[in-house]
């Protein structure tokens, strides 16, 4: 088995890393590129803490080989804020207190962003289905749903990242 040079584009920045091909995308992001916002919470593709956005799609970084993401545009929670200006969803999360311990938050934010990019005028049910793949043990989800709903309703339109 040989290590391979893989170029990953994360948050609009190219990173060249030298990895065993079995390295998962979440491992590449956390351990090689050292962006530790994205977390891991399980081994069965269940919890969603590792959710990142790959070419506009929310995916679980624990079930994607890093090498498969070469050539794609990858977005993590660290890439939402631009020069100190928060993304609308981040503002909404602050306003609604849509996090507590924060461990699920990076993944939850990315699922929310991907969902919002694909949905216009979502119903509450659609929002809940939209974050179904992300477990939160602390909030009971309702504050997160409120945050997504407020962004969908245009409460933060003045600042689109």
């Amino acid at each position: 088995m040989e290590k391979q040079l893989v170029r990953l584009n994360v948050n609009e920045q190219d990173y060249d890393i030298y990895i065993n091909p079995k390295t998962l995308l979440v491992e590449a992001i956390r351990d090689y590129i050292e962006l530790t916002g994205t977390k891991r919470g399980c081994d069965t593709v269940s919890c969603g803490a590792c959710t990142v956005i790959v070419d506009g799609m929310a995916v679980k970084g624990c079930s994607v080989l890093a090498i498969q993401a070469e050539g794609a545009r990858i977005l993590t929670s660290e890439g939402l804020e631009k020069n100190g200006k928060l993304h609308a969803i981040q503002k909404a999360f602050l306003d609604e207190g849509a996090f507590q311990c924060g461990f699920c938050t990076s993944g939850m934010l990315m699922s929310s962003v991907a969902f919002l990019n694909e949905s216009k005028n979502p119903t509450e049910k659609e929002i809940r289905d939209g974050i179904e793949g992300n477990i939160c043990r602390c909030t009971g989800y309702n504050s997160i749903v409120r945050a997504i709903d407020s962004v969908a309703k245009g409460k933060y339109t003045e600042d689109k990242a």
Binding site: D43, S46, Q100, E132, S143
Partner: protein
């Protein structure tokens, strides 16, 4: 979506109970927050733990030679590499300190650590585990408490007859007379399941031991002070030579203030190698080896008058304590205490027995024995109301605690808003009108503690302490030992400090989670920090403010009858608020006045003369609307309303989050989070098979917040967020009872149980017809 209303709102504060952003929000929403899970130190090694496959066995020998030969492996440690100290969080009671995290002689549950490896990569450490040979002499094991107390059951700990490790007796009033007066007596047996904390961040720690014989530990835990004290005990070190850091903690829920394998084994390895060692539990390990909520067998006998007046209750409880005592001793007491809540009894008696079994040790989990107590109590009370043809809400109301209620020898209730809770839930139920045929509503009442009084940790320190330091530009350093585990205590403390000092939350920097730089505090458990740490912060802030104002008084020349205050960074006479000066100006003057020394205010709090349990009690009544598919038994939660009295809310966003979050965990306990064991082995140690509420399952969690005033709490505040894990399971059970007339004795209630109960009922009715 959710509705939030306030009943009897207090006068608004400047900062308290306003819409304040969580002070850690920035870090958490930008991915910048560093958890123990993320910590990386130079030269760090990775540790893995070898765990016992047997529920009960003597360790005859451990051969790690093959593992040590594996390239990249640096060390293997076993119990023989430790001092063999038996530790436990009930430090004051040596007989309850029964656990060697790395046992020397014997293993007592499947998953117990037996050895630990440090290697240069996690993968190598894991491979090394397979190369460690352990010679076990397997012993007979016992898994259920009612089996473990039988004669002839395997003895799990030497000297503990019938495997009973702790007993607790609570009694007040006249129990026998109460039963004699009763016109109706009902007795029932219940079985309460366990539950996993399922913190998003699994147990993990990084330990770094350096040649100066000092130990630094990063640990995901609820009380750095406890960790420091416990580790000093097991390592034979001075507390002051150990630094515990808990930067951000990915959830605790009561499971992270005992020592665990991650913190202990990483330290032992680091002390051997003088290198940092990191241990992170996999999710499977977290399920198998981090202690769980205590499963309990409950017998409760309740006597009432025909008009619904409560007379007497006696309860006997056997808890499945698992292999070691730990925090289970507290849960044993609290379950018995809260089983009487929130009602007045002529006589109440509780006998609890904590039984050793060869299963995962049970510990505290949010609710601390009260969810189990309410599952039994609130359902039985509902059945009694039905048996007597009484309104279940009014029957509860007339027996409930009031302000001034005395539980003899236990507690005095200084604030209680439960009566208004009954009003709000009645209103809510009425507003729902006629429900669809497949839905019903169940209710449950409860009360909970705002921190515990008993000093079982034997700490010589104040239970909470705080230090407020004012910088020359008016910014404030707030040092607390209170630990933020997601519940928002950093924010709550900042709010109390800002309100008291008269500044804004953004002026305050909260320091917590570091034993080197923060004062001791018992930490985040028992819902204690808002009241206890909050009182310490209030005292420290008042102290700093007083020192500051001395300088203002001196220069003001005010008549003795007039007072100064600070609000919104403005120092002014209360009678003439338009006259005054900027806070920062005063600070600078005070600094010069004190010879260049910053104003430092100190505060602390330990409850005194507040009874046996807690300085204050929250109260609540919850209604849950439940839909059941009668053919399949599937339960869905449709709506909920909780009327809640936590005195004076402090952290508005935090409060709502806590109430909603508690609901999801409590509901999970009621109908989803099944934790089956077979011969001591957990059958579903993963998130596919362990079911938890996700976004689609969570119903609205409407809140009616009843403002009361608790004299013992900062600004009248009491606990919120743990009490709310108590009622929901019973409320779900009561909804099922109302619709179908089935009485569910076991939780979590699963669809198959509902289908079976319905079938049994049908068969019984059929048989009775004949």
């Amino acid at each position: 979506m959710n509705k939030y209303t306030v009943i009897n709102p207090h006068e608004p504060f400047r900062v308290i109970n306003t819409h304040v952003h969580n002070v850690d929000g920035w870090a958490k929403i930008t991915g910048r927050a560093t958890y123990t899970f993320d910590v990386k130190l130079p030269g760090m090694l990775y540790g893995k733990i070898l765990r016992s496959p047997h529920p009960h066995a003597n360790i005859k020998g451990i051969d790690a030679s093959k593992a040590l030969e594996l390239d990249g492996v640096k060390a293997v440690v076993t119990g023989k590499d430790t001092l063999g100290v038996k530790q436990g969080i009930w430090r004051r009671y040596k007989d309850l300190c029964d656990e060697q995290i790395l046992p020397v002689d014997k293993v007592r549950y499947i998953g117990e650590p037996v050895a630990a490896v440090a290697a240069i990569t996690e993968e190598i450490a894991e491979k090394a585990l397979d190369l460690i040979e352990v010679d076990y002499e397997v012993l007979p094991a016992v898994f259920e408490p009612l089996d473990a107390i039988k004669k002839g059951a395997p003895e799990i700990h030497d000297g503990f007859e019938r495997n009973i490790s702790v007993t607790r007796h609570i009694e007040w009033g006249e129990v026998e007379e109460g039963f004699e007066e009763s016109e109706y007596i009902r007795e029932d047996w219940f079985r309460c399941g366990g539950q996993a904390h399922m913190c998003m961040e699994t147990r993990c720690a990084v330990s770094s031991y350096t040649p100066d014989k000092k130990l630094t530990i990063y640990s995901s835990n609820q009380s750095p002070y406890y960790m420091q004290g416990l580790m000093a005990g097991v390592l034979g070190m001075r507390e002051g030579d150990i630094r515990v850091l808990s930067p951000y903690v990915g959830g605790g829920f009561g499971g992270k203030f005992e020592l665990d394998g991650a913190i202990f084994c990483s330290a032992i390895l680091s002390m051997k190698l003088y290198k940092p060692v990191k241990i992170v539990y996999t999710r499977e390990e977290d399920f198998i080896a981090s202690k769980r909520r205590t499963p309990m067998f409950y017998y409760t006998r309740t006597g009432v008058k025909k008009d619904g007046t409560f007379c007497a209750r006696e309860a006997k409880v056997f808890t499945n304590g698992g292999a070691y005592t730990g925090m289970g001793a507290t849960a044993l007491y609290l379950t018995g205490f809260f089983h009487s809540f929130p009602y007045i009894w002529k006589g109440y008696r509780y006998d609890g027995y904590r039984v050793y079994t060869n299963t995962l040790p049970s510990t505290s989990m949010r609710g601390f024995g009260a969810p189990q107590a309410m599952w039994c109590s609130e359902q039985q009370i509902e059945w009694i109301a039905a048996d007597l043809g009484l309104d279940p809400i009014e029957m509860r109301r007339k027996n409930s605690h009031k302000e001034g209620t005395i539980l003899p020898g236990q507690a005095t209730i200084a604030s209680c808003g439960i009566d208004l809770c009954y009003d709000e839930i009645t209103k809510w139920i009425k507003s729902k009108g006629k429900l669809p045929a497949n839905r019903s509503i169940g209710i449950s009442a409860c009360g909970f503690m705002s921190g515990g009084i008993f000093n079982w940790f034997d700490s010589p320190y104040s239970f909470s302490s705080a230090v407020v330091t004012i910088n020359q530009d008016g910014t404030v350093e707030l040092h607390v030992g209170a630990q933020d585990i997601g519940q928002g205590s950093n924010t709550t403390m900042a709010i109390i400090c800002a309100e008291t000092l008269g500044v804004k939350v953004e002026d305050i920097k909260v320091h917590s989670g570091d034993t080197d730089n923060c004062p001791p505090d018992l930490g985040a458990w028992g819902s204690r920090q808002t009241l206890m740490s909050g009182n310490a912060v209030k005292m420290a802030s008042e102290n700093a403010k007083k020192q500051l104002l001395e300088f203002a008084y001196a220069q003001s020349g005010l008549n003795i009858v007039y007072d100064l205050d600070i609000k919104d960074r403005w120092v002014h006479a209360i009678a003439r608020p338009e006259r005054g000066e900027d806070f920062v100006q005063l600070v600078r003057k005070a600094l010069r006045g004190k010879d260049g020394q910053k104003i430092v205010g100190r505060g602390y709090y330990t409850p005194h003369r507040k009874g046996m349990i807690s300085p204050a009690y929250s109260y609540m009544l919850q209604g849950v609307e439940v839909e059941v598919d009668e053919e399949t038994g599937k339960i869905s939660l449709i709506d909920s309303m909780t009327a809640h009295d936590c005195g004076q809310p402090i952290n508005h966003l935090g409060l709502i989050g806590q109430l909603e979050g508690a609901f999801s965990m409590a509901a999970g306990y009621g109908y989803l989070e099944y934790m089956p064991y077979e011969d001591g082995k957990l059958m579903n140690p993963n998130l596919v098979d362990y079911k938890m509420i996700r976004a689609p399952e969570m119903p609205p969690a409407n809140i009616a917040e009843i403002d009361t005033y608790e004299p013992e709490g900062p600004y009248g505040a009491k606990e919120a967020g743990e009490g709310l894990t108590n009622p929901t399971a019973a409320a779900i059970g009561n909804a099922l009872f109302h619709r179908f007339g089935i009485q569910m004795k076991e939780c979590p209630v699963r669809p198959e149980m509902v289908v079976n109960a319905l079938r049994e009922k049908k068969e019984k009715e059929h048989a009775e017809k004949k």
